[in-house]
Subunit: 368 residues, 2 copies
């Protein structure tokens, strides 16, 4: 087991990473202050892991709330199921909400914890690679609005994050790839040596080697924790974590939530950010191709949907949270291992990026 | 104009109190960081004060969202109207939400500000006495759930609070009395000299004398700010602000939201807290009667609804937030000017308090 500590003064918390942690009471009980616990999970994860977790929490008054699965349900109506469950079981302000599942469950359970009686304790048990390396660090919680993703939410920190690498064995291959998009991102934005390690380790990682996974997850969480430490409320450097996300959110919104996985959209969005960074002359073609090749080896799309034109992107990007007072800020790469957030670029470079022939680039790289 | 400063480190903010402040741009513009402003108000307040406030904000891109009036609308559906308005007008993370109205508008607009894109700036312009002395200080925001009041919300601080005493001229007499319940509360829980001042000033206050109002509001806000400063997240002394509220919430829940005004329920609830404190031997009958008499002179009910029995109270009080792990904590008076939060009392004293003959006590006091 590896343990990281996310340092946020009185809101600091540990991240435990290892095989079989779901069944280990010592990962949970020190972080449960009251007698009541509410496990929030979904109908896919519940049959796989709920009993194990309930076992680890034996001795507490545990209820479980099983949500429908999927991003399409990341809305107020589903959130309401959590509040209903808590209130019907008369959970008070000292209850602890445990999120068991992927990013959607974590975001909703975390937002419920942030809002229930104006804030109760919260433990994250992310069961997908994406949520393990992304949403379990940083305190972002929330739900979608018909007019935009994650438009309603809160910054709210968990008391602990428990990552059981064994839970990845039941994860569909497509979702494993989607999670790798975020892992690769950390290498690209702030850790060039990690990028090299990933290039050397991508096969064992995709083959679910537990040690490789623990290392990749720990380094990803550490990278994110370092950035979050430096900038908890995302006014500056934290925005670099959104590499590929502004383009990616536009893809998700345009295609409809759930058609592309979030990580898949981030993969294609990262390809676009690499392309634009090259077109600005910040990275050379070899660096762009190094990034693209790793994305391809992780099984990720590097080509945006054929159905989307430049205007589609621009329209959807304009409601993204990175728009401040109407100026569109993008996360781009100054070099591999260093990202910048900037709105200082020629509009025609953005348009050229949106209309570049990614299919041809990918075909060429696959051919090499 | 009086200016108080609520000290909360980097979240400190000023409270401006005086006649005609609604029309004063200098109370607002220094606290508006971006170009976009969203005024949230309701259908009762909008015709009275919206144009004036828009005038004070001239030069910014201002939208307004007009909600239906009343506690019955303090729910997710109404909150959604705020998010819809913000997203349709493409307000970004630097927008400022201005709450123009009473406590319901302030709670909802504040919660919307806490949640919109995980938190945007927020200015409160409370137009009722209750919201001026209570909800404008302390950062409590939220909405009701069918199973309980204020069960979903956030602690979220405004950038400034602007209190225009002139807005009380359009306030119904019943709501003025309701606001006085909270003013009197501050005297009872932490400021015996203020209680004496109120006994001497209750007639000018009820007659809307601007100077008396400014003084009463400023001292109330200061009292609350002092308590909030000491305990921002309500783990200890802050709970004393709930004097009369546990009983009062039970009345509101039982009668249905909006039948009794919140302040009226707090008035009767405070009478019950006085009664229980006397029955515990902590205050004498003269002290109880001093409190009751001031409540009566402010036009407040001191008799709970005839329809409510002890079991009704106990049932509704059990889901109140003051219940920790099943123990019912109450705010009571150790003496006039000093409140305590305790679950250390004989159950039969609580039951005797719930079944006391308040109508007879009130009749006797009115006869004196």
């Amino acid at each position: 087991m590896q343990t990281l500590k996310v340092e946020l003064a009185e809101r600091s918390y540990p991240i435990y990473i290892g095989e079989g942690l779901l069944a280990n009471p010592q990962c949970f009980l020190p972080h449960v202050a009251g007698k009541q616990v509410a496990i929030v999970t979904n109908e896919t994860v519940a049959p796989l892991y709920l009993a194990q977790l309930e076992q680890a929490l034996a001795g507490r008054a545990v209820i479980s709330v099983v949500l429908p699965d999927g991003e399409a349900h990341k809305n107020w109506e589903t959130l309401q199921l959590i509040f209903d469950g808590l209130l019907k079981a008369r959970h008070d302000r000292r209850t602890t909400i445990v999120a068991l599942g992927g990013g959607v469950v974590g975001d909703m359970a975390g937002f419920a914890a942030a809002c229930y009686q104006r804030g109760v304790d919260f433990i994250q048990v992310p069961t997908t690679l994406l949520s393990q390396v992304d949403s379990s660090v940083g305190g972002k919680t929330g739900i979608n609005h018909p007019l935009g993703k994650n438009m309603v939410g809160a910054f709210y920190q968990p008391k602990a994050v428990v990552i059981d690498t064994a839970s990845l064995r039941t994860l569909p291959a497509r979702e494993l790839s989607a999670g790798m998009a975020e892992v690769i991102k950390y290498g690209l934005i702030c850790d060039e040596p990690f990028l090299g390690w990933l290039e050397a380790s991508i096969e064992p990682l995709m083959g679910l080697d537990p040690q490789a996974l623990t290392e990749a997850i720990a380094r990803s969480c550490q990278a994110k924790a370092d950035v979050v430490n430096a900038d908890e409320r995302e006014t500056g450097v934290r925005a670099t974590l959104n590499l590929g996300h502004t383009f990616g959110h536009a893809i998700e919104t345009h295609m409809g939530y759930g058609v592309w996985l979030h990580g898949e959209a981030v993969g294609a969005g990262t390809a676009m950010a690499l392309e634009m960074s090259m077109r600005l002359g910040w990275i050379d073609q070899a660096a762009r191709d190094r990034g693209l090749r790793l994305l391809l080896r992780a099984g990720l799309p590097v080509v945006p949907p054929a159905a989307m034109g430049a205007d589609d992107f621009l329209r959807h990007m304009a409601v993204d949270k990175k728009v401040l007072d109407g100026r569109m800020r993008l996360v781009l790469l100054r070099r591999l291992g260093e990202a910048v957030v900037t709105d200082d670029y020629p509009q025609e470079t953005l348009r050229a990026t949106l209309t570049a022939d990614y299919a041809a680039i990918a075909a060429q790289l696959r051919g090499k």
